[in-house]
Symmetry: C2
Amino acid sequence: MRTDLCDRLGIEHPIVGFTPSEHVAAAISRAGGLGVLGAVRYNDPDELAAALDWLDKNTDGRPYGVDVVMPMKAPTEGSIGDLSKLVPPAHRDFVEKTLHELGVPPLPASDNPDGDGVLGWLHSVARAHVEIALEHRPALIANALGSPPADVIAQAHDRGILVAALAGRVDHALRQVADGVDIVVAQGSEAGGHTGEIGSMVLLPEIVDAVGGSVPVLGAGGIGSGRQLVAALALGASGVWMGSTWLLTEEYANGLGQTAVSQALLKASSADTVRARIYSGKMARLVKSRWTEAWAAPDAPDPLPMPLQNLLVGEAHRRIAAADDPDVVAMPAGQIIGRFDHLQPVATIIEDIVREAEATRARLAP
Amino acid sequence: MRTDLCDRLGIEHPIVGFTPSEHVAAAISRAGGLGVLGAVRYNDPDELAAALDWLDKNTDGRPYGVDVVMPMKAPTEGSIGDLSKLVPPAHRDFVEKTLHELGVPPLPASDNPDGDGVLGWLHSVARAHVEIALEHRPALIANALGSPPADVIAQAHDRGILVAALAGRVDHALRQVADGVDIVVAQGSEAGGHTGEIGSMVLLPEIVDAVGGSVPVLGAGGIGSGRQLVAALALGASGVWMGSTWLLTEEYANGLGQTAVSQALLKASSADTVRARIYSGKMARLVKSRWTEAWAAPDAPDPLPMPLQNLLVGEAHRRIAAADDPDVVAMPAGQIIGRFDHLQPVATIIEDIVREAEATRARLAP
């Protein structure tokens, strides 16, 4: 099951796993994949540094990666206070009214150190994340928003770190390779979080045909089993990028301690996700809940552009997390969540994928 | 490349091709697949009978199929005149204004034999289609709307005809198999025409796991190459159902004589389709054009439910077809259309798929 990707990254199985949990990332790397820690939730760069220090010590010397959310060009960006003034009061009223109707209480005053959302969406914070990452030993820096700035790519390459970017269209992939990106993640519409409209079955071979001669391409969006891994390889991928699957692991559930998210994801079918701009201002796939339904109602306002939408809903997300109600969650998740009905250890999932993939290759053999 | 499906249907390659053109259907069957003729466009059942007579004589004795659009239960259905009264005048005004703005002229009076859309959406007409089909020798009757009525399934089985149904969700597939359907077509969101929200990468293995032990499952949505055929087989399918690919064939372009549709599809990328209710009242994927954009504008009305929407836009579709403008087309098409940039003969496409599939199997072999 080894591919060229395994040699490039020094891993055993062609499985790259994105996760916001350092515990999950470490478990993926220890099991022979590449765990990639999402940096966006670390408002304080020191916390990211601590998480990467921990990863350095808990991955048995195996490689890991870091995922940032960074536009190629720095947007005009005021202080948080300036930006907050751009959020219309009617939007704030809608959020407050909705949370009240959904029975989500306010946070205790002591529990609200920064009331302004996930700052990782801000370019300045993403920059700090990159600097922290460069001080550690990741094998890969991935960017959810396409090519990182040129100097970031250059600094990564100087340190022998590969750069990956997520692409939802062929033209994005072509630009990324021209910018010096080393690995393109072809992310189909099935994926959780920021995602485009083109399904993996169509997107992956298109991107392979466009850039596969230059760089390895990973299949992302809808991957959670060995059959899906082999399907991605059949379509020309060198491996897979998986995200939502890890939300259904014991390490994730134990690490973040949110039972409501696990319950919501376990009971969801593949039909229970929705693409909307309500999470960050950019189109992202989330698990359906009373929160996403409220934003789809006729009286709901249009979401604001990034980064304003996250400033609008950042505190709401924390209130929803604290309320821990499985019917009211704000959680990016892809259609693959329908496959899982109980939590498993990360290592078991990877073992099952590898075993099923080998059986599938044998079944397809001429 | 043979699978159990080939034995069930008496075909050489596990490729089933849906098409509104009897010329394309015959070419698919002659090339070793199963050509399936879409009946919905035949307002006059005698025309369908003539097309099936022609197929009987032009398929070299090889099997073919017929596709109808028939709900399991007959809806309350008045005469065309009664139904037309349910179309709001504001909707008619929007269509007329839009056609005017897009430069689509009225039809000549002599060219307008029936002003009420595609009648095949009506249950009574679909019934007539089934009766015509049963008088011929199709190997398969497929239904785009799920299980056909029980007596249709029974009559087909009495004549040794297999029944297939399209499913966009696992619960639909389970119901179809319980109803006696012989082949389930798992149609991912990438597909053209009526389609759901779940991508092929996720939907296909889900449906295989749910009903694959009872019936063969075909992968549909985003299939147009040998790599995609092998990906579908990796996901557990017994074969593939392809539709949009045949719109980019010489037989289709020559048969229907609409150069605008061919031009529109050839220049479209995989990002140039849209899911909307504007074609039939049910969600369907179409190639983007100035017509679909007009319906997405803020001033556009909500589409009407089936069958009213088709009564509303039926004449508009004929006017658009007659105007033959590549920028103004009303055409169901899936994301796979981005793969093709020139017209090819049906036989060449099937040869290429089979050759690429064999190469892919060899590449994946353990």
